[in-house]
Structure formats: structure tokens, C-alpha cells
């Protein structure tokens, strides 16, 4: 199954002014492909993600899913933070998607605990999210998305609020989980290195300053998998990251100039 974003634009009215969030964005994500979307804050990456998730609808253009006859396929969404329900235990959070699907309690709890074991949280299942560290919370968040076993996995800067070391460890964990399932992934980030290290393809979005976000460039990342920490420092990785930065640079600088 393939995600097809076809000439999508999004406008919304903010304090009487029409603001363009996205203009004419087209993107395809193949089944089993990991696509990272990088761009400066406010370039419309999150809007794009929410449209694929069905939480917002485009002003023009459409989002469709190849190979789906009727309705929407299941998509799972990982938020940067606040994504876990504070009133549910870790296991209940992880099993939430399956519960919405009607999986019986025993089955969903068993699977949730099995997945928690894979991310090293087997003894935290009955705790409430606020008692966990931010890094643990994001592992739960990611586990919830993977357990939903959606065809399309959407992640909105899932590791952005973590410290650098935790982030490295979770990137590895995330890729390991994904390699076992191979869902189509759209991974939004503003971390260029992360995009290059995780993705099969990096989509670069620009568009600060009212013109609306658009795709400026796309590059395929052909680094072999699994990519370990050494790969991060390989010359090829550096070149790819440099390329992304050169495309983004003027957009980021424009944003700095506009800032008060």
C-alpha cells in the first residue's frame, strides 16, 4: 500500500487573515518505505502529517491510499509529547489502539507487555506515565504506535524533547522495531542528521513567511542498513547532511531575520 499526497494545499484563517500552511505539496510513500521530512519550524511539516492522519482536511488536492478499496487504512501517530493519556497505565496506553479496534483485553494486554519487554520497559507496565522519565514516556508512545500495527506510521518529532544520548539510543530502537514490521513511515524532524540516519528518503520542506510550505528537494539515502554509530561519521553521511543543510539554509536564516 502506498500513501499518495496529490497537489495538496492548506489555508486557514487566523485573526481575519488567510494563512497558507501548505502549497501544492505532492508526495508518495511506498509500502515499507521510511521517509523523513525535514524543514524549519513553521514550514507546514506537522500540517502535512495531520492531513495524512486524517485529523485535518486539505483545502485543495487530496490524500489517498493506493490499494485501499473503501475507507481509510489504519494510521498510527506519534506525537512529540503529551501523547500519552495520563489517566491510563503504561500497558493501557500501549494497548489503546488495539482496544479501539475491539481486541479483547487479555490478548491486547499480552501483546502490549511483550512489546514493552522489547523496549526494556517490562517492569513499568502498571505505572502511570507521569512517573516515568521523558525518554521512557517516548518509548511507550512509540510502542503504542507499533502495536497498532498500522500500514502507515506517522511520527511528529518523536525524539525532539530528549537529551542527545537518549535520542541516539531510541533512534536505534525505533529502527529495530520498524525493520521487524516494515510499515510505511513518515517521520517529521528538524534534525538533519537524524533524518539521514533513519530514512530511505529525505524530503526537504521550505516555505517560511506566508507563501506556504512546499517541497524544495528530495534525496534518496542509499546508506546500507543496519546503520550503526560508525555510519554517522562516514563521509557519505556527512555529504548527504551537508546537501540537506545547503537546501534549507536560506529558509532557516530568513526565519531568524524575521524573528523579533
Amino acid at each position: 500500500m502506498r500513501v499518495v499526497v496529490d497537489r495538496v494545499s492548506k489555508q486557514h484563517v487566523h485573526r481575519g487573515r488567510t494563512v497558507t500552511a501548505l502549497s501544492n505539496v505532492s508526495l508518495q510513500v511506498a509500502s515499507g518505505e521510511f521517509v523523513a521530512v525535514v524543514g524549519a519550524s513553521g514550514c507546514g511539516k506537522t500540517t502535512l502529517l495531520k492531513m495524512i492522519a486524517g485529523l485535518q482536511s486539505p483545502t485543495s488536492g487530496r490524500v489517498s491510499f493506493d490499494g485501499v478499496v473503501d475507507g481509510r487504512p489504519a494510521t498510527a501517530l506519534v506525537f512529540q509529547d503529551h501523547g500519552l493519556f495520563p489517566w491510563m497505565t503504561v500497558v493501557e496506553n500501549v494497548a489503546f489502539g488495539m482496544r479501539m479496534r475491539g481486541t479483547p483485553r487479555d490478548a491486547r494486554d499480552r501483546q502490549a507487555r511483550a512489546l514493552l519487554q522489547r523496549v526494556g520497559l517490562e517492569s513499568e507496565g502498571d505505572r502511570y506515565p507521569h512517573t516515568l522519565s521523558v525518554g521512557m514516556q517516548q518509548r511507550v508512545n512509540i510502542a503504542r504506535a507499533f502495536l497498532y500495527d498500522a500500514h502507515v506510521l506517522l511520527m511528529d518529532e518523536p525524539l525532539a524533547s530528549l537529551d542527545a544520548l537518549t535520542k541516539l539510543a531510541l533512534q536505534q530502537e525505533l529502527v529495530r522495531l520498524w525493520e521487524a514490521r516494515r510499515n510505511a513511515v513518515v517521520y517529521v524532524t528538524h534534525d538533519i542528521e537524524e533524518a539521514v540516519m533513519l530514512a530511505d528518503r529525505v524530503v526537504i520542506m521550505k516555505g517560511h513567511g506566508g507563501t506556504g510550505g512546499a517541497i524544495a528537494d528530495e534525496i534518496a539515502i542509499s546508506l546500507p542498513r543496519p546503520r550503526d554509530l560508525q555510519a554517522r561519521h562516514a563521509g557519505q553521511t556527512r555529504d548527504l547532511a551537508d546537501h540537506v543543510w545547503r537546501v534549507l539554509e536560506d529558509d532557516v536564516r530568513a526565519q531568524l531575520a524575521v524573528a523579533p
Binding site: K50, A53, G54, L55, A74, T75, A76, L77, F79, H82, G83, L84, F85, P86, W87, M88, F96, G97, M100, R101, Y128, P129, H130, R144, Y148, L154
Partner: protein, 259 residues
């Protein structure tokens, strides 16, 4: 923050010690006519009067009348208040439509509607229960509405992103998310319900703690007035403690600011 065990022990002793010391001072002042024993009878006299009210079987029917009134009023006013509050918190459209009405009616002293209610339904028990229900309705409505509104919008999005229907969003986001503030609403509804029940009984009832107060003052039995006040205070303290315990049990995730 969990206080150290020592601190807990100190807290447990503080209240009874303070009450005993105050009672002893009062007892002494009243017995030595430092304060007028007519208006401030010694606590031992109040305790004796309370014991007599119990043993003569006077207190029972009054207590039962007030508690029944309060319970029916809380249920009949509180449940609609809860339901409407949750819906108004959830739907901006409903809120826009009804919020001005709530804002206008909420501050009205509820005892003031008693004459109107008596004109409509007659002077019977129904009029008293209705006024208690009206009083309980508003705190639950306002708190449930605030409870839903303080739920972070991301929780609604997260539920939707995992395919939750509206009914399931209600069950898994709206209700649990608002529960801490709803429990505060229950507490406020109880307190204002008690206040209104006693007030109604002062002016219109054959039985009830308010009636007991009124009759005692009319016959100048000061110690009975105090005995009735003690019963009301103990009821309030007991119910609030029960609710605090229940809230902690129902919202184990909520260790923050709303508790």
C-alpha cells in the same frame, strides 16, 4: 510531595489536640462566667444535650430528613449538571449557546428561588428537594465544563488518530480527563447542598436539622442549638474526608495541582 512519616503523625495529632484545648478553655470560661453560660454553654453541657437528643430519639428523624433531602437533591441536580457540563465543555457550540445563561443564573442565591418553587409545586417536600437540586446543579455543571476544557487538545487528537469513535472519546478522554475537577464539583455541590438544605428547613419544614435549630432557638435551648451545629459540622467534615479518599482512589494518576 509525600510528607515524611513523622510529619503525618504530627498532622494526625494536631486536630484533636487543638479541639481539646479549645474545648477546655471554653469549658473553663463558661463555668467561671467569663463568657455568658446562656449563650456559650460549656461543651460538657452541649455533649449532654446531644446525648439526650440521641437517646430521646429526637435527633434520628431530623437527621434522616436532612440526609434524605440532601441525597435526592444531589442526585437529581448533580447528574444533569454533570451531563450538561461535560457536553458544554466538549462542544464549543453548546458552550457559546448556554454559557451566558449559566453565568446569569449561577450567582443567584438559590434559597431565593424557594418562594417561586413553592408557588409552582406547593409547600410540600418536593419544593425543598428541588431547591437543593438547583443548588447542586451549578457547581457540578461549572466544574465538569472546566474539567473538559482543561484537557489538552492533543489527547483528543491522539484518541482520534487511533480510530476512537465519539462515544469512545467520551469514555476514554472526556470522562477520565475531567474527573479530578468533577470530584471538586461534587465536593462543592455537597457543601452548598447542605447549606441550602439547612436554610430551607429553617423556613419551611416539619423535620430536619434546620428545623431542630429553629425550634431550639425558639425555646431558648442554647445547648440544643449547639448540639445541632455540632452534628452539621461533623457531617460536613466526614463527607469531605470520604470524598477526598474517594477522589484519591478514582484518580490515582492525579498527583498534581487539582487535588
Amino acid at each position: 510531595m509525600t510528607p515524611a512519616p513523622d510529619e503525618h503523625r504530627a498532622e494526625r495529632w494536631a486536630v484533636p489536640v487543638a479541639v481539646l484545648v479549645a474545648a477546655a478553655m471554653w469549658e473553663w470560661a463558661s463555668r467561671h462566667a467569663v463568657v455568658s453560660p446562656l449563650f456559650f454553654p460549656p461543651p460538657s453541657e452541649i455533649a449532654r444535650a446531644l446525648g439526650q437528643l440521641v437517646s430521646e430519639g429526637t435527633l434520628g428523624p431530623h437527621l434522616r430528613a436532612t440526609l434524605t433531602r440532601l441525597a435526592i437533591g444531589l442526585v437529581c441536580g448533580g447528574i444533569p449538571g454533570l451531563a450538561i457540563g461535560l457536553m458544554m465543555g466538549w462542544s464549543p457550540r453548546l458552550r457559546a449557546a448556554f454559557d451566558p445563561l449559566v453565568a446569569a443564573l449561577h450567582p443567584l442565591p438559590k434559597i431565593a428561588v424557594l418562594p417561586l418553587v413553592m408557588m409552582i409545586v406547593g409547600i410540600g417536600e418536593a419544593s425543598r428537594v428541588i431547591v437543593v437540586a438547583v443548588a447542586a446543579f451549578f457547581p457540578l455543571l461549572v466544574n465538569s465544563m472546566a474539567g473538559v476544557r482543561q484537557i489538552h487538545p492533543l489527547y483528543f487528537e491522539a484518541a482520534e488518530a487511533y480510530g476512537a469513535s465519539r462515544r469512545r472519546v467520551l469514555a476514554h478522554v472526556v470522562v477520565p480527563g475531567s474527573l479530578p475537577l468533577v470530584m471538586t464539583g461534587v465536593r462543592l455541590a455537597f457543601n452548598v447542598g447542605m447549606l441550602i438544605a439547612i436554610s430551607v428547613e429553617l423556613v419551611s419544614a416539619r423535620e430536619g436539622l434546620g428545623k431542630l435549630l429553629w425550634v431550639s432557638w425558639q425555646s431558648m435551648r442554647t445547648e440544643d442549638v449547639y448540639a445541632a451545629l455540632v452534628v452539621i459540622a461533623v457531617l460536613g467534615a466526614g463527607f469531605n474526608a470520604l470524598l477526598g479518599w474517594l477522589t484519591a482512589r478514582l484518580t490515582p494518576w492525579n498527583t498534581g495541582h487539582t487535588r
